[in-house]
Every structure is written in structure tokens, then in C-alpha cells.
């Protein structure tokens, strides 16, 4: 780790090992880790871990015994050495079904529906409406990061009905039996309203556990009244960050190790956002360090507030934050047209968040109704335009109409996600245990300054 140049940094840290163990190959360690977790891991699935950019076929097939992930014969897809499913667009994953979905019935009434979500990521008016309809009070508990959410959930101390998350977290949530398989008969809006690509996702074939919540791209947001060049004209658009020398100290880098290192990868011409090659990751970290020397980045995620306030003038941002900035954070006197957004149309990150039902839910039927409610065209529009700025992947949300009605400023047309972009976009997906450590180590190195 201290010796970045040797590159072979993927060794798992668990277990007692001397800090500098560069002689051991990743394959060897992966084998050890895999043996611990699953017992019989085949050479085929290990080969897959050598380069997860092209994972092997379904574990069931590779294992030869027809056994699916976590012993469920109906589950399948690429897994890492320790059995964690690694969904990729070309290699879909069917998550193991643990137990049966809840039977249809009358939704539970009275008391509270408990939701676990990011802060400011649900319109309170929408929650109130749901509470009124179902005669229940809705309570949202918030988390800062998905990792924190997972840690707290896995202690078993927190009981929720509905959990918001991301696709790359699903394997962990299922692995710890923290979410339950869904009864999609109770969520008719999924088939009725949601883009087909998002309703039948590769990360949760079936689907079995999730419904999509919002779609977004990662790109460059900037104040066009201050920044004197046009990032939209740069190829790749990320170059706009490295060109911001004159705006030193007012440039945001997302405080998210996947997004930040991913941007470094794209800046240096790689479009594999799930690479586990130390050489590429190290190069990305080096380019981020170079970026920091040039422009003095702010590592944060609050562009929705900081950009309209002028605390930053350009940055790596999520599309939804730019709409949120215009919807909720525009100071008096600042025109919504001053905020621009551009993203990398080919190979840039485009993805979605998901909603799930907790296995510990005390109101599982009501929770299903809530998921269905959120996928209602009208409700989701109210949630999107009225509050969060994050767009739901619904057929009923007509981007052209929103623009025409002036509900979204013309300059932010680019912040809307098209079906086409979603279907072809790149995404940050689950990495192998060793791979994730590589990314995290790189990020720690960068953050040490």
C-alpha cells in the first residue's frame, strides 16, 4: 500500500498479514478468500475475478452442479470469489430468492410506515398524501451514506418497512437477508408506468427485490455567468475540471470514491468504470492529484446548494442536483438559466436508485403499496418537480412537455435522462472484495493530500 508502484495492491486485508506482501499473487489470495466463504469455488469463477470487466457466466453453470447463488437453484449470474453477485449489463444477475413474497391482502393500517432514505430525497407533500390515503403516519429516518445504512441495518437494531438504496448494494442486502422478495402483483405500476429497461433490470433479473426510484447521470455542472468556457464543447466533458485553473478553490469533486476515481478513469480515456486493474486505478488517482494541484478541489456533494450560492462555480455533479438547485436553492435575483449541465453521452455514468422492502417490515403489504404509489405518474412528478429534482424513469414523465411548460429551464435540458441514454449508459457496479479495496485505497491516498 505504501509502495503504490508495485501495483499489486489487491490483497484482502482481513487476516493477519504483513503490510508488504507483494510477492503473493491476487489470484492466490482470492482463492484463499473464496475458499473461506464458499468452500468449492471453481477455477472458472476465479478466472472471472482476474478481470471482472468480463465476468464469467452464471455461477450455477460454472459450478457445474446447477447450484445458484447462495444455494438457490433459480438464481444465477456472475459472482466474485466470495459469492457476491457481480451484475453487469452484459451479464445479468438473478438474485437468490430467500423466502416467499408477502401474500396479497389488505394493507396494514394505523401506526407508522417506517422509511430509511437519504435526507431530502422524498417530497414531504407526497408522504403526507400517502399517509392520508392509507390512514398511516409516515416516518423517514435518514442516512448519510449507503455504507452507513448497511452497517446499521446489518446490526439488526433498526427496523424499517421501506429501504432506499442502489443496485450495487442489492447483493449485500440480499446476502444479509435485509430485504424481502417483492410481490409484484401489488406493484402494478411497475409494468404499467416504468421504462421497460428499468422495470426489467440486469442487476435484479425477474425482478425479485427492487423497483427503480430515480435515474440520473453524472456530469459537469457550472455557472455559465461566471465560467468563461463551455464544458459542453469539451471531449471528454471531464476536461472542464482540469481547465478550471482560474477558478481555484471553487471546483467540486464528488465525495464518492467510485465517482471521483471513475472520473479520473474517463479523463484518461478509459471507459471501464468497474475496472480492477491497479495500473488504471493508480493512473486515475494520479490524474486526480494533478487536478487537485491545478484547481484545489472541494471534496463534497452539496453542489445543489453550493453552485447557486457561488461557493463553487464548476464541478463534478449529479444531474438531479442541478435540477434541485434550480427548484429549491436558487437565491433571489439569480436566473435559473445561469446553471448549466453537460454529461458524457457515450460511456458516461447513467444509473438509477432503487426502493426495496425490508425483511423486517412490520407492514409489508403497505410497503408494497408505497412502492406502487411512488411509481404513480402524478405522484412521482410531484416528487420530482416539486422537491427532489431527481427524475423517475416513468413513461408518463414527458421531458419535452416539462421543458415547454417551463418547469425545467432550457439550459438544464441536459440534466434530463433519456431512455436511450439510460439503456446504453455506463454504471458503477458491484466490485469484487479485492477490487473494492483497490478503489478505496486509491481514494484514501488521494484524500491524504
Amino acid at each position: 500500500m505504501n509502495d503504490a508502484s508495485t501495483g499489486d495492491e489487491g490483497e484482502p486485508r482481513d487476516g493477519e498479514r504483513p503490510p508488504a506482501q507483494h510477492g503473493v499473487s491476487r489470484r492466490g489470495l482470492l482463492k484463499a478468500a473464496g475458499g473461506l466463504a464458499l468452500g468449492g469455488v471453481t477455477a472458472a469463477s476465479l478466472a472471472g475475478c482476474e478481470d471482472t470487466t468480463t465476468p464469467v457466466a452464471a455461477y450455477g453453470a460454472a459450478g457445474g452442479g446447477g447450484r445458484g447463488i447462495l444455494g438457490d437453484p433459480t438464481a444465477g449470474g456472475p459472482v466474485d470469489a466470495s459469492g457476491i453477485p457481480l451484475a453487469r449489463r452484459d451479464y445479468p444477475v438473478t438474485l437468490p430468492r430467500l423466502g416467499d413474497p408477502v401474500k396479497a391482502g389488505k394493507p396494514e393500517t394505523g401506526g407508522e410506515l417506517l422509511i430509511y432514505n437519504y435526507a431530502d430525497y422524498l417530497n414531504p407533500a407526497v408522504l403526507k398524501e400517502f399517509g392520508r390515503l392509507y390512514n398511516v403516519s409516515v416516518r423517514v429516518t435518514t442516512f448519510e451514506t449507503l455504507d452507513e445504512a448497511f452497517s446499521k441495518l446489518s446490526t439488526g437494531g433498526l427496523k424499517f418497512d421501506v429501504i432506499f438504496s442502489t443496485p450495487d448494494q442489492l447483493s449485500r442486502l440480499v446476502g444479509r437477508k435485509l430485504i424481502q422478495p417483492l410481490n409484484y402483483d401489488l406493484i402494478p405500476n411497475l409494468r404499467k408506468n416504468v421504462w421497460p429497461e428499468a422495470a426489467e433490470p440486469f442487476y435484479d433479473v425477474g425482478p425479485r427485490y427492487s423497483v427503480p426510484y430515480t435515474v440520473y447521470t453524472t456530469g459537469i455542472g457550472w455557472r455559465n455567468d461566471i465560467v468563461d468556457y463551455d464544458p459542453a464543447k469539451m471531449i471528454p466533458v471531464w476536461d472542464a475540471m482540469w481547465a478550471a485553473e482560474q477558478y481555484r478553490g471553487k471546483v467540486q469533486l464528488l465525495n464518492d470514491y467510485r465517482e471521483a476515481i471513475g472520473m479520473g478513469l474517463m479523463h484518461s480515456g478509459s471507459d471501464d468504470l468497474n475496472t480492477e486493474r491497479p495500473v488504471l486505478i493508480n493512473a486515475s488517482v494520479a490524474s486526480l492529484e494533478n487536478l487537485n494541484r491545478k484547481v484545489g478541489v472541494k471534496v463534497q456533494i452539496s453542489a445543489y446548494e453550493a453552485l447557486p450560492a457561488g461557493q463553487i462555480v464548476l464541478g463534478q455533479v449529479w444531474s438531479g442536483d442541478m435540477l434541485n438547485a434550480v427548484i429549491s436553492y436558487l437565491p433571489k435575483g439569480l436566473s435559473p438559466d445561469t446553471i448549466s449541465y453537460a454529461y458524457q453521452e457515450v460511456g458516461g455514468p447513467v444509473f438509477n436508485d432503487v426502493i426495496t422492502v425490508a425483511s423486517a417490515a412490520t407492514k409489508p403489504v403497505l410497503a408494497h403499496h408505497f412502492l406502487n404509489f411512488i411509481l404513480d405518474n402524478k405522484i412521482s412528478l410531484q416528487n420530482f418537480i416539486g422537491y427532489t429534482g431527481y427524475q423517475p424513469p416513468l413513461n408518463g414523465i414527458d421531458a419535452a412537455l416539462l421543458l415547454k411548460q417551463g418547469l425545467i429551464p432550457k439550459g438544464l435540458q441536459t440534466a434530463l435522462v433519456t431512455r436511450d441514454a439510460y439503456a446504453n449508459g455506463n454504471a458503477y457496479l458491484t466490485l469484487t472484495t479485492a477490487g473494492q479495496r483497490l478503489w478505496e485505497d486509491g481514494w484514501t491516498r488521494f484524500q491524504a493530500g
Binding site: M1, N2, R13, D14, G15, E16, R17, P18, P19, A20, A33, A37, D80, S82, G83, I84, E144, T145, D147, E148, F150, S151, S154, R172, G175, R176, R248, G249, K250, N255, Y257, N292, G296, V297, K298, V299, Q300, A309, G310, Q311, T433, Q436, R437, E440, D441, W443, T444, R445, F446, Q447, A448, G449
Partner: protein, 304 residues
């Protein structure tokens, strides 16, 4: 006898409470730092000392050693904290001295002003500064008008005019601002107890005001200064949100940020716990040094 028993009984619940929660929390950190991580990145504490795994501790040690990946952060943290301590001393001492000796009737008001910041939480005060120091914030404008930015630039401790743009000077000043009252109050208490007659005696014996300050007051306030410095150094070393709010740049990250980064997310929670242990050991050494010098002083006083 009975009186001391009564006090012992009264003090017991709080002492047990403090000891229990200190020990349990510390043991939990040790167990996580000496533990393991599952393939789902959940830390598995090893409660049994026989199962302790020192891999993470070794890793943390090599990280903070010269040349390690956390080494720059360690150097930076120590530099920031020591500069902040020096500034606190220079800024805080006159205030404490004034309050203890010259405030007279306005002493109550001075003390009130010192306690006032505690009415608002530390984080809220820092949040207020993020708005005031924003490029179009009031404080920014005033500092700009007074030419403070230019001065700081000339001194080489600031780059440009954006106070929140990853400036070491902002982080250090914010630390001073945040913890200064903790330095002044114990110092005030110690100066307040200072025997006035000793100063008069030194003057009678021909010392100038300056000399009597250097040779009498300052040595006598050593314990108060040390107590104040220790009191602010401990939280400053572990502070992370001041840096987060005032800069957020990798150029100014402190050890607290590194630990926070490990603990908040990802697969390295055990490494975060191991680093926490190292920091605690470092601070313990600091504390012991303070206690030793206190005891030496007490012995001297007793001998005199």
C-alpha cells in the same frame, strides 16, 4: 468518616457510569481494530484477546510512519494543532489575565462572554462561518475590505481570496476560534487563584512590571496554561468536521478526516479503528506528560 462515605456513595454512580462507558467503548474500538472484515465489508470485532489480529494495527503503523500513505496527514495535523495551540496561547492568555486581574466589576460580563459560545453547538457555529466566509458572505467582504486577504497572501499562508477554498489558515483559525474558550476558562481559574501578594513582593523587590510578569506571573500560571493547552489539544487532534466544513480539500485533511473516511464507509473500518487506537496512544503520551509536569509542580510547591 460518615461524611466521606456519603460522598463516596454519591459519587459512585457517576464514576461507575463514566468508567463503564469509557471502558466498553474503548474495548469495542480495540476489538474492531484487532478484528476482521467479512466479504460484505462488515467489521467483525474479535472480543477475545486470544483471537486478536494485529494485521490492521501493523498496517496503520506503517501508514502513519514516514513515507506511509497517511504520513503527510500526520505531519499536517501536528502542525495545525501546534500552530492553533500557540495562537490560542497568544490570544487567550491576555483575555484570561484581564478577566482574572483587571476586569473588576465587568468580570461577570467577561466570563459571560467566554461562556456564551457554548450556548450554540460547535457545529452550528462552524456552519454559520461557512456562510459568512463564502465568497459573497459578509465576513469575506469585510476581510477583503480590510486587506486581510492580501496580508495573508503576502505571509504565504493563503492562496487567493476564497477563505473556504482549501486554505490551511482558515482551518487553523477555525480550530482556534472553536476551542479558545476551553483554553481560557481553566487558565482564568488558575490566574484567579494566583496570590496577588507575590506580584507585589516582586515589585517591592525592584522588578519592573515586565520582569515581574515574566519571572513571577508566567511561571505561576504554568499549570493553568498546560491544563488549557491539553484541554484543547485533545479534541483538536481528533477533530474532523472543522476541516470538512471550512475546507473539504485533500490539501488540508487531518487525521480525524482519515479515520472518519475509514469508519464511515467501505471495507476498512477495522483500519479506522486501528488508527483511532494509535491516535489514542499518542494522546495518552501527551496526557501523561502533562500529568507528570503537574505532579512535579505540586511536589515543588509542597517543598516550598
Amino acid at each position: 468518616m460518615t461524611r466521606s462515605l456519603i460522598w463516596r456513595v454519591l459519587a459512585a454512580p457517576a464514576l461507575v457510569w463514566l468508567a463503564l462507558f469509557f471502558l466498553v467503548a474503548t474495548y469495542a474500538i480495540v476489538s474492531v481494530g484487532m478484528g476482521n472484515v467479512t466479504t460484505l465489508f462488515e467489521p467483525v470485532p474479535h472480543w477475545n484477546p486470544l483471537d486478536w489480529n494485529v494485521g490492521y494495527l501493523k498496517q496503520a503503523l506503517s501508514d502513519v510512519a514516514p513515507g506511509g500513505q497517511t504520513w503527510p496527514v500526520v505531519v499536517r495535523t501536528i502542525a495545525y494543532v501546534f500552530v492553533a495551540m500557540a495562537l490560542s496561547l497568544v490570544i487567550g492568555y491576555p483575555v484570561a489575565y484581564y478577566a482574572a486581574r483587571y476586569a473588576g466589576r465587568s468580570r461577570g460580563i467577561v466570563l459571560l462572554l467566554l461562556v456564551l459560545p457554548f450556548w450554540i453547538s460547535y457545529i452550528m457555529r462552524m456552519f454559520a462561518w461557512t456562510n459568512l466566509l463564502a465568497p459573497d458572505g459578509y465576513a469575506s467582504k469585510v476581510l477583503d475590505a480590510l486587506g486581510i486577504d492580501t496580508l495573508m497572501n503576502k505571509l504565504g499562508v493563503m492562496d487567493g481570496s476564497d477563505w473556504l477554498g482549501g486554505q490551511p489558515v482558515t482551518v487553523v483559525l477555525a480550530l482556534v476560534y472553536g476551542y479558545l474558550p476551553f483554553f481560557i476558562l481553566p487558565l482564568y481559574a488558575s490566574l484567579d487563584r494566583l496570590d496577588h501578594r507575590l506580584i507585589e513582593a516582586s515589585r517591592d523587590l525592584g522588578a519592573s512590571p515586565m520582569q515581574s510578569f515574566w519571572r513571577v506571573v508566567l511561571p505561576l500560571s504554568k499549570s493553568g496554561i498546560l491544563a488549557g493547552l491539553v484541554l484543547i489539544a485533545l479534541p483538536m487532534f481528533g477533530d474532523y468536521f472543522t476541516q470538512d466544513l471550512m475546507s473539504g480539500s485533500p490539501d488540508t485533511s487531518m487525521i480525524g478526516n482519515t479515520i472518519n473516511g475509514y469508519v464511515q464507509g467501505g471495507s476498512e473500518k477495522s483500519l479506522g479503528a486501528a488508527l483511532t487506537l494509535l491516535l489514542s496512544i499518542f494522546l495518552l503520551v501527551f496526557m501523561l506528560g502533562y500529568l507528570r509536569s503537574m505532579r512535579a509542580e505540586q511536589r515543588e510547591a509542597a517543598a516550598a
